[in-house]
Symmetry: C2
Subunit: 746 residues, 2 copies
C-alpha cells in the first residue's frame, strides 16, 4: 500500500463528527457542512466492485491503457455495523458474493475520511460514485494543461457531439509523457500518435494528482497511488474508477476556497522558499561547451541583462545518433566538452551567477555510472530478472531502483559528489514518468510504484540538497509528480510545450497547468521561456513573438529561465540579436523589481499554502464569473495578469473582478468588469490592486522604458501557419469535399 | 420486436433434443454434437445483465456509438424450472434483483434455440458469453471488408500492441456507411474522420448480420435486429453485447461446412436466379444524357464489346452544388437531360441491351415526389413531429416511411410506374443505412427500425418487380442489408471502395466482403468495376491498371458492371481508349463464355444455398491451411481464383488445396500446394478442377487471344503513391524524428 508517509505529518487532531449520515428507504446520504458528497440510492448506488483486466501498453513514456471490465456490480444493500462518536461503519453488498466495509470518520484534520475494507469475495476494480450537480465545477487533478474546470468537456457539450473523434471525456491518474499536440482533433497529435501513440490527449500529464476542489467549496482527495480514472462528464454524479489498492478518500468543506487550498498543501507538504538568486534575475539556457557558454553570458551581460544562472544541459557530454546530437546520460562532468568548468563555476559565482545542469533517473549503458550500478545490482530488473534496458532512441538505459535503499543512497551520493560538490547551483531533475509496469523493483512491481515513482525521485534529489547542507541555496526543478511531490521538490517546471500557440500543447496550455498545480499544493511553477518542442524542417519553430510573449508572461511568475528548445538552430533565442537581448533586459529588470513582492508571496505560500499563481476564483469566490476564467491569473494577492497567448494580438479583453484596479502600464484606475486594453509585445495586460501595500513597487514597472518591437512579417507568417498546418488544411478541405461526394451516392 | 418474418418460412419440424446440458458444481455446459457452445461457471458466467445508456451520434450515415455501462452483473446462480423432451428452462439470477429465464430448445430445424425472458427487475443491456477455444476461427458477420476470419485481430495480436490507435477489436452490428479508408492507421481514414467521423474502421459495414460460422463447424445466429457488439478477441470466450430486445440464438452443428451454409441461407431466404442478360455480357455505367449514352454505347459496340446493359445514374436529372454536379433525387425520368429515353430504351432492347437507372429511399425536398409524399404524410418525422429533413450536402431530403402501409405502397407504385413501366431493366437501389435513431416512424422509433430498414427497402423493391410481373427479368442491386435481405434482394453490390489498392477500402477489400456475405446467405454479389471513391485533386484517381485488375476479377463473378466513379473525369474508363475497350472485349467474352457455368452455379445456390463465390475452406474443410486464406476464392465448385489485388504484380503465389488442378492460361496440370505463376494484366491466376464437368468450357477461356498491356509508367506512379500518401510519409518521418527527440529530454 502506497499511502504516502507525508499524510502522517499532518496533525492528528481527533474531532467530533463533521459529517451527517441520513438513512432513508434504501438510501444513504452523507453531507459535510450541508453539502451532499455521497448520495446512495437503489437507482444510483454509491459503490460498485467488479472483475476485469487493466492493460498498459507503453511506448517511450506514452501509456495506452485499456480497461476491460468483465463485471461491474452495484452494492445496493447496506447495513450499519458500528457507530461511534467520530465514526460510522457500514457494509455495502450486492446481496450475493461481494461485500465492502466502508468506514466514515472525522479524523486527520478532515471533515470526513472514507476508508474501505474488502469483506466478501475478492475483486480487482472498484468504482465510487460521488454526488454532483450539473452546475458544479471541478478544479485540480494535479497539473492539467487543457482545462481548469475539468467539467468543461461533458457528454452534452457541443465538442463531444461535433467531434466524433475525441470520445474520451475522463481524467486518468497516471503519470506519463504529456504528449505532442494533446488534442485528437489536430494533425500534430495525429502524426505524433501514429508511431508510438505519442500525441497524448487533453488529460494526459506528467503530474496527475487525485485531488479535486469543487465550486461548491469542498475538496475530495484520494490517498491511493493506484491507476484511477475520474469521470466528471455526467450531470448528476462523478464516477471514480480504481484499479488496485483503494486507499482512503478525504473530504473537507469550508465557506471559502482559501482555507481548502491551504489545508490541502499542508496535507501534502509545502515547497520551501526559493533562494533569491533564482528569482531576482534570469537563468539562461545555453549549450555547446565552456567557450560557447561564456560567450553567450558575455553577450547578455554586455547588454545589461541580469543573469543569475546559466543552464547547461550538455555538461555530461554528448552522443551522436541518427536524430542528431543528444546528451550523454551519465551524470558526471565531461571535461572534454566543458574544460575548466570547475574554474568557471567559481569565477561566475563571484559574478553572482550560478551554473546549473541536467540529470534524470536513467543511466546510459555505455557510461561508467551504469556499469557501477549494474555491478552493484542497483538497477531495475525486467521480467526475466535481467537489467531492464529501456530504449530511449538508439541508446539504452538502466533505471536506478529507488526502492532499493543501497541504490537510492548511491544515486544520492552521485548527485552530491558529481554535482553539488562541483559547485553547481541547481539542475533539471528530468523524467520520472516512464517506469514500466512490468519492471521488477526491490520494493515490488513497476505497476505498483509507477505513480509514486516521481515522488521518490523528488525525495532523493531533495535529500541530496539537504544532506549537502545546501537547503535554501541549491535548487532543482522537476516536471513529473504525484501526491507528495510538493513535500520534496524545490521547484516545478511546466513541461515541454510545442513552440506554437495551440491550445492543447502551446503557450495557452501553461496557464491552466500553473493554476491547477497551484490548487493541489504546488506553490511555485515556471515555464521554459520560448517553450520547447521544435521541428524546424516542418515549420514548427519558435518565432521572436512566441519567445517574447512567453518571457513577458514569466516576468509574473517566480522564475525566469530560458530554454533553447530541442533544435536550438531553428529557434529565435534570447541571444539571437542585440535587439532581443535589450528587450529581455527590460523584462528581467521588471522581474527583479518584483523580487520583494515575490519573496512575500513565497512567504505567504509557505505559511498559508496559497500558490504564487492563483486562479481568480480563489481570491474572488463571490464572483461566479471568475469560475470559468482559465487564461487569466493573479500573481500573488495583488497583480492580475491576462497573458497574451495568441499571435498577432494588439488589443485584449480582460475581466476584472470586483476590486479597485490600476492598469499597470499607464497607472490609471480601472473599474471592474470587462475592459479592453492595448497589448503590444512588451506590454501584456497587467493590473494592480489599488489597495496593495506593494502598489508603488509594482507600478514602478511601468517606468522601464517601453521598447516597441514588431516581429518582421515573414517571421510571423512562417510561424502562425506552419507547413504542417497549411499542408493539413489543404488535405482536409480536399477530403471534406471528397467525403461529401462519397456519402451521397454520386 | 423485430424478429423477422422470414424465419417462420423455414420448416417447423419438431425434433428430439439435439443438445446436451450437463450441470456441475455451480456450472452448466451446453453441447451440440460434442461441441461446447455455452460453458457457464462461477468464474466465467454465461449471462450478464445491466443498466446503461447507448448513445448514437450520426453524421451522414456514420454512427459514433458510445456505450456507457453503469452496471454489468453476472447471473451466477441458476436453477432448472422445467424440462421436456425438446426443451429445458432455467432461471439465471444474481441472487439479488435480476433474473432471466433462459429456454433451451431443439426446434425450427436448429440443433438448439436459446430464448430469453426477463423475469425479475428490468434492465437495458444484456451480455451473452459463448464458449471458445483460442484456435477457433469465426467467419460471417454479414459483409466484412477487412477480415474473413474475424479473430485475426485479437488482444494478443501484434497489431493491437504495435498500433496504439486502433484499440477497438469488436464487430458492431449496425448498418451504416462503410467509411472512407476504414483503417485508423491510415491518413485517408484520419482526414475522412476529421469532419464527420467518416473514416470508418475495419468493422464498419453497410451490411452487418449477426450470423457466424466457426471453424469448429457450427454456427450461431442472433435473430434480434438490435444494436449488438460481438467481441471475438478473447481467447477462451466470445462476448456478445446487446442493447435492446434480445431475440433468440440459433445454433446448429454439422460434420461439414456446406450443410451449415445451406441451412443458414434456407433460414434467411435465397435470392432468385438472375436473368441471362445480367450475366452473359457487361453493364456499362455511363452518364451525361441521351447522346453521351448512345455515343459510349456505339464506341463499345464498334469494338465488339458485348454490352447487355447501360447504367445511367443521372436519368432523373442533376443539380449543381458547390461540390459539383449531383443527381436530382426525384425518381422520375428527366426528359430534358434524357430526351427520347423512352424510344432509346425500346431500340436498345431490340439490340439486346437494357437501360438501368438509380434510386434510393430519400426524396429531394425541391422535387414533386417529395411534395406529394409530404402532402400525404408519407415521410418520416423528427422529434417535434415535423418532416425529418436530412441534410445530404446542400440539399435536404425527406425519407419515405416504409413502416407506413400507404407510404410503402405509394413508393412501390412510383417504382412500377416511373421505372418499370418505362421499360427500364434494373436499377441501383442505393442507401438504406442512414435511418436516424431519433426519427419517428409510423411503426416506432428510428432506433428500433435502423437495422431492419434495409430489409424493408429490399422488400419494397422486390415487390415492385413481382407485382409488375417482371420477376426473372428486372433486377435491382443494393449495398445495405441485415438478416432477411437475401430473401428479398435480387442482387448485391459490394459498396463504394476507394479507387486504390488499400487493404481497408481498396481492391483487396472486395474479396473478403464477397466471401463473408456468401456465408451469410447472399449468393450473388458483384463489384463496381474500377471501384468508386475518387479524389483527383489529391491523386486519388483510377489508373488503367486498377480498372483492368478489377475487371478481370469480375469475370469470375456473376455480374460485370462498370462504374465511372464519383469524379469520372479523373478516372481511366472502360471507354477511355480503343486499347482499353479491346481489353474489355476479351474479358467480357470470357465472362460470357462462362455463362453456362454461372447459370449452373446459380441453380446450385438456389437449391443448396452455396454462394457463387466461396472461401476455400467451404469446399476443402479437411485442409486447415485454407482456413486463413482470404484473398483467394472458388467461383462455383470448379474454378479457383487468386485475383491480383496489388499494383505492379508480375508473378503471384497461390495456394492450391488438395485436388487435381489445371492452370487455366496454359492448360497444364498443377500439383496442390503453393505454386507461383505469372500474373500480368489480363492473366490473373485462375485454376480449374481437372474433374470438372465444365472443364472444356472453362479452359476454352485461354483461347481468347491475350493482349499484353503495360500501363504507362507515369500513370502507374501517380496511382501507386497518391499525393496524400507521399505528403503523409514526409510528415510522418519528420514527426517520428521529432517525437524521438522530444521524449528524451534533449
Amino acid at each position: 500500500c502506497l499511502v504516502l508517509e507525508v499524510l502522517l505529518l499532518t496533525s492528528l487532531s481527533s474531532a467530533a463528527k463533521n459529517y451527517v449520515i441520513t438513512e432513508g428507504q434504501g438510501s444513504l446520504t452523507v453531507q459535510i457542512n450541508d453539502v451532499t458528497v455521497l448520495n446512495h440510492t437503489l437507482q444510483s448506488p454509491a459503490f460498485y466492485v467488479g472483475q476485469g483486466r487493466t492493460v498498459f501498453v507503453e511506448a517511450l513514456g506514452n501509456f495506452h491503457v485499456r480497461n476491460y471490465i468483465q463485471e461491474k456490480i452495484a452494492l445496493r444493500r447496506f447495513s450499519n455495523v458500528q457507530k461511534t462518536n467520530t465514526s460510522d461503519v457500514y457494509n455495502f453488498t450486492d446481496g450475493g458474493i461481494y461485500t465492502v466495509q466502508v468506514t466514515f470518520e472525522t479524523k486527520l484534520d478532515q471533515d470526513l475520511v472514507v476508508s474501505f475494507n474488502k469483506v466478501g469475495h475478492n475483486y480487482t476494480h472498484t468504482w465510487v460514485v460521488l454526488a454532483a450537480s450539473p452546475s458544479d465545477k471541478i478544479y485540480g487533478g494535479g497539473e492539467q494543461f487543457t482545462h481548469l474546470n475539468l467539467r468543461e468537456r461533458t457528454y452534452n457539450s457541443l465538442e463531444f457531439f461535433s467531434s466524433l473523434r475525441s470520445d474520451d471525456l475522463t481524467y486518468p491518474i497516471w503519470t506519463r509523457e504529456q504528449g505532442v499536440g494533446r488534442d485528437k482533433r489536430t494533425n500534430t497529435t495525429f502524426f505524433a500518435d501514429l508511431q508510438t501513440g505519442g500525441g497524448g490527449d487533453f488529460a494526459t500529464t506528467y503530474f496527475p494528482q487525485p485531488t479535486f476542489l469543487t465550486s461548491r467549496k469542498y475538496y475530495f482527495h484520494f490517498t491511493s497511488t493506484s491507476y484511477m480514472v475520474f469521470d466528471f462528464s455526467l450531470p448528476t454524479f462523478h464516477q471514480v474508477f480504481i484499479n488496485g489498492d483503494f486507499g482512503d478518500i478525504y473530504f473537507k468543506s469550508s465557506p471559502s476556497f482559501q482555507p481548502l487550498v491551504g489545508n490541502l498543501s499542508s496535507l501534502f507538504g509545502r515547497m520551501p522558499k526559493l533562494p533569491p538568486w533564482v528569482y531576482d534575475g534570469i537563468i539562461m539556457g545555453v549549450q555547446g561547451g565552456t567557450d560557447v557558454m561564456m560567450k553567450r553570458y558575455q553577450q547578455a551581460k554586455a547588454e545589461g541583462v541580469n543573469i543569475r544562472g546559466l543552464w547547461i544541459q550538455d555538461w555530461s557530454g554528448i552522443i551522436r545518433t541518427s536524430f542528431g546530437q543528444r546528451v550523454f546520460w551519465n551524470w558526471q562532468w565531461n571535461a572534454t566538452r566543458y574544460p575548466d568548468l570547475d574554474k568557471k563555476i567559481k569565477e561566475l559565482k563571484q559574478d553572482g551567477v550560478r551554473v546549473t545542469v541536467y540529470m534524470n533517473p536513467n543511466l546510459n549503458n555505455q557510461g561508467p555510472l551504469f556499469k557501477e550500478a549494474e555491478k552493484n545490482d542497483y538497477l531495475v530488473k525486467n521480467r526475466t530478472g535481467q537489467t531492464y534496458l529501456f530504449n530511449f532512441g538508439e541508446f539504452f538505459c538502466g533505471i536506478v531502483d529507488l526502492t532499493n535503499g543501497a541504490a537510492y543512497n548511491w544515486y544520492k551520493d552521485q548527485i552530491k559528489r558529481n554535482i553539488i560538490d562541483l559547485g553547481i547551483g541547481g539542475w533539471m531533475a528530468d523524467f520520472g514518468e516512464y517506469l514500466p509496469v512490468d519492471a521488477r523493483l526491490n520494493g515490488g512491481s513497476g505497476a505498483m510504484f509507477h505513480n509514486h515513482w516521481p515522488v521518490l525521485w523528488a525525495k532523493l534529489n531533495r535529500e541530496a540538497v539537504q544532506e549537502s547542507g545546501k537547503e535554501g541555496e541549491v535548487v532543482f526543478w522537476m516536471r513529473a509528480g504525484h501526491t507528495g511531490t510538493s513535500n520534496f521538490t524545490t521547484l516545478m517546471w511546466l513541461g515541454d510545450q510545442n513552440v506554437d500557440w495551440s491550445e492543447g500543447d502551446g503557450l495557452p496550455s501553461v496557464v491552466p497547468s500553473a493554476l491547477s498545480s497551484g490548487l493541489c499544493g504546488i506553490g511555485m511553477t515556471h515555464i521554459d521561456i520560448g517553450l520547447y518542442t521544435t521541428f524546424g524542417a516542418l515549420g514548427l519553430k519558435r518565432s521572436a513573438e512566441l519567445l517574447l510573449r512567453s518571457a513577458e508572461m514569466a516576468v509574473f511568475s517566480p522564475v525566469m529561465r530560458t530554454h533553447e528548445g530541442n533544435q536550438p538552430g531553428y529557434n529565435v533565442q534570447m541571444y539571437s540579436s542585440v535587439t532581443i537581448l535589450r528587450l529581455f533586459k527590460r523584462l528581467v529588470d521588471q522581474h527583479k523589481a518584483l523580487s520583494n513582492y515575490t519573496s512575500v508571496a513565497m512567504d505567504d505560500y509557505v505559511t498559508s499554502g496559497l500558490p504564487l499563481q492563483r486562479p481568480l476564483f480563489l481570491m474572488y469566490p463571490g464572483d461566479k464569473k471568475t469560475f470559468d476564467i482559465k487564461y487569466q491569473y493573479l500573481y500573488g494577492a495583488d497583480i492580475l495578469v491576462a497573458p497574451v497567448i495568441h499571435p498577432n494580438v494588439v488589443k485584449k479583453d480582460v475581466y476584472l473582478p470586483n476590486d479597485k484596479w490600476i492598469y499597470l502600464w499607464n497607472k490609471t484606475d480601472m473599474n471592474p468588469g470587462m475592459v479592453t486594453v492595448n497589448a503590444p509585445i512588451g506590454l501584456p495586460p497587467v493590473f494592480v490592486r489599488k489597495d496593495s501595500s506593494f502598489r508603488d513597487d509594482i507600478v514602478s514597472l511601468a517606468d522601464y522604458k517601453y521598447i516597441p518591437f514588431d516581429p518582421s512579417p515573414p517571421n510571423n507568417v512562417s510561424n502562425d501557419s506552419s507547413f504542417v498546418d497549411i499542408l493539413s488544411s489543404v488535405i482536409l478541405v480536399a477530403f471534406c469535399t471528397l467525403f461529401a461526394l462519397r456519402s451521397t451516392g454520386l
